[in-house]
């Protein structure tokens, strides 16, 4: 049992890589935990940034492990289905948030197994459309960790969001500027210096440019999941087409409060009576 270990939920992307790089200063061993399930692609890509961190800060200080969450995700998405359907409707399609909740459940189990008392991830305020990165949902998740004596924290949450505008808009701008003004200095160099996770990673010498998020460089270093399109259809094309963000946040928090309560019950039952063991394999 040690307080000098920390678990990082590690996708290999900018935010989780920066999180690992920041917390390594305060811990002896950093456990990089990558998750796999049906529909995740390029899990092997995550080892690139894991190796980079190990080379920079010491190979003996980083442990990179991949764990499966397929059964947990299925359970948390479908438990008490009709009851939840009546109460929360289309919010049952908040697949990205439910998937992240399954990751947190698996992380708690990992922490209990390995005697780790601290866990963290790369949640950032700029992605607040995703349920597990909304502040009130994060507070609920933090309470869930507390129940098991684990401290959960998010060191890059307050960092600036990378860019205004949606993904397509950003990609268009990058594409157009690079295409029409090939003789100019790179776009990243002339952008205002917001303190984004990408910029800090660049300043630490762990990324080739301050804004690699969403670029081919970034994509080749992290796991990918195309299933988020269904979540986007529900949120952007259905819910937010007729409601405000505040209404969306309220409904999401209500839904996830129920789900987190259920997740806590399952974890408690597993710890005390060994129930639901199959879900964690």
């Amino acid at each position: 049992m040690t307080n000098r270990d920390v678990v990082v939920l590690f996708s290999g992307g900018t935010d989780s890589t920066l999180t690992a790089a920041l917390v390594q200063a305060d811990y002896r061993t950093v456990h990089l935990l990558t998750f796999d399930r049906l529909g995740f692609h390029g899990i092997g890509n995550t080892s690139l940034n894991a190796r980079m961190l190990a080379e920079r800060y010491g190979a003996d200080r980083f442990r990179h492990e991949t764990v499966h969450i397929g059964r947990l995700f299925k359970f948390i998405a479908y438990e008490r289905y009709l009851q939840n359907l009546r109460k929360h409707g289309f919010h049952l399609l908040s697949t990205c948030g439910l998937c992240k909740l399954a990751m947190h459940m698996r992380t708690i189990r990992y922490c209990l197994e390995h005697g780790v008392r601290h866990a963290t991830d790369g949640s950032n305020q700029g992605m607040s459309i995703f349920p597990a990165q909304m502040r009130p949902v994060l507070d609920e998740i933090r309470r869930m960790y507390d129940r098991f004596g684990i401290r959960y924290f998010t060191p890059v949450y307050e960092f600036d969001a990378p860019d205004e505008g949606d993904y397509l808009e950003q990609a268009n701008r990058r594409f157009l500027e690079a295409g029409l003004h090939a003789d100019r200095q790179p776009v990243e160099e002339v952008k205002e210096s917001k303190r984004t996770p990408g910029r800090v990673l660049y300043e630490m010498g762990l990324a080739p440019a301050p804004d690699v998020k969403g670029t081919p460089y970034d994509r080749k270093r992290q796991a990918r999941c195309f299933q988020l399109v269904l979540f986007n259809v529900f949120v952007l094309k259905w819910f937010l087409a007729a409601h405000s963000y505040e209404e969306y946040e309220r409904a999401t928090v209500r839904f996830f409060r129920d789900k987190i309560r259920r997740a806590t019950e399952v974890l408690e039952a597993n710890r005390q009576q060994g129930k639901y063991e199959k879900l964690f394999r």
Binding site: L38, G39, K74, A77, Y78, L85, F90, L92, L93, T95, L168, A171, N172, F175, L176, G179, L180, A182, C225, F226, Q227, L228, V229, L230, V233, F234, K237, W238, A241, A242
Partner: protein, 63 residues
């Protein structure tokens, strides 16, 4: 119209069991990915033509 399509898509997804929903979402994801590739392919071609036109050079694919 797009809200109607979203409603239909969500209703269908809600009816599906876990594995089928994953495949359904995966299919949607690849469909969108394919649309992005086509969009950028076309944009790339247009930009090349614009650049070549601006510098007075001949385009790669024609006079």
């Amino acid at each position: 119209m797009s809200r109607f399509i979203a409603f239909f898509t969500c209703c269908l997804a809600l009816l599906l069991p876990h594995r089928l929903r994953c495949w359904f979402a995966e299919g949607l994801g690849w469909l969108v990915q394919g649309a992005y590739f086509m969009y950028y392919g076309l944009l790339n071609r247009l930009l090349r033509e614009l650049r070549d036109g601006g510098t007075g050079e001949k385009g790669r694919n024609g006079p």
